[in-house]
Symmetry: C2
Subunit: 186 residues, 2 copies
């Protein structure tokens, strides 16, 4: 319907990245006492630091390190929450190369330890956002290792994941989908 498309376009026009929208959403959840979920700082290998008098220490040489975990974690209703956010320009599938092996292994360890793991995937062309349970990601990941396809079809994400509508307060209301994951866990 035209109005639906209109809404999508509006939000797309804001030009906010998924990450920025998630950070704003997490701030909303925190301020309202709903959940405590933060993005982790970018890991940096610090090599050289200057300590000038009367002013702040300045890092003069440092390098980006590969993160050993996902970007987001925290607590919601006592549950440990762990996820990564990924955007793709692809229309019909989500390429698995957007994930690093260590991120998938980290999610696996978290789920093994009783946490709730997932990915938040946005198809930027259409502006559609989904929560994909870690179990579905693992299935496609392991299948790829055995010669299977290198991407998850959008149809599978729609079928096995949860569509996250655009709204205000919070912009990305992904905890509603997490409610469904928690209900399934019980």
């Amino acid at each position: 319907a035209p109005s639906h498309t209109g809404t999508r376009t509006n939000y797309g026009d804001r030009g906010m990245s998924l990450e920025a929208e998630l950070n704003e959403s997490n701030q909303y959840y925190l301020t309202n006492g709903i959940a405590v979920i933060h993005k982790k700082p970018t890991p940096v290998q610090i090599v050289k630091v200057d300590y000038p008098r009367r002013s702040a220490a300045t890092i003069k040489e440092a390098y980006f390190r590969h993160p050993s975990t996902t970007d987001y974690n925290g607590v919601y209703q006592g549950h440990y929450i762990d996820f990564d956010a990924k955007e793709t320009k692809n229309k019909v599938s989500f390429p698995l190369k957007n994930f690093h092996e260590h991120q998938v292994e980290h999610l696996r360890a978290c789920v093994q330890a009783g946490g709730i793991g997932f990915a938040i995937i946005r198809f930027t062309n259409e502006g559609d956002t989904f929560l994909l349970p870690a179990s579905v990601l693992f299935k496609f990941w392991d299948n790829q290792a055995n010669g299977g396809r290198k991407s998850i079809p959008r149809a599978d994400i729609e079928a096995s994941g949860y569509s996250i509508p655009f709204q205000l307060n919070p912009l990305v209301p992904y905890l509603s989908a997490v409610d469904s994951l928690i209900a399934k866990k019980k």
Copy 2:
């Protein structure tokens, strides 16, 4: 007893910081499928990055930012775990100035959301390490704001906290104390 003192001295002699011992312990817990708990990267404000050809991007100017959370979090038996590690040279009490307001507020928000929060405190002179439940920290923190004492007496930490023995594999077996916190929660 002399042998006990001897053991303490041995461990002290290793010269490992509490943080290094915790990182090793967390690696043990991870490798053995017991828990997934990581130290967060140091938050850095990146100002200038060089992208030389054929080599890694080099950060040329950056500044340390104040962390908005505690240093460690993760998942153990489905429970969200959140804590900070602090060392003090004091012998009879732990000075509250070792905590920043935002760290205490973060711990409060985590506990409010159903997580398990605490501090791991080491008295470096004696080499004794304790897990102090967040609830006890909050009591002394709020009391300080109302004109109360600026430190937590070691006697109170011994009475309301859990002594963490030195051992190998892991070096700091703090999850045994967390078991007690989980049992109390039920």
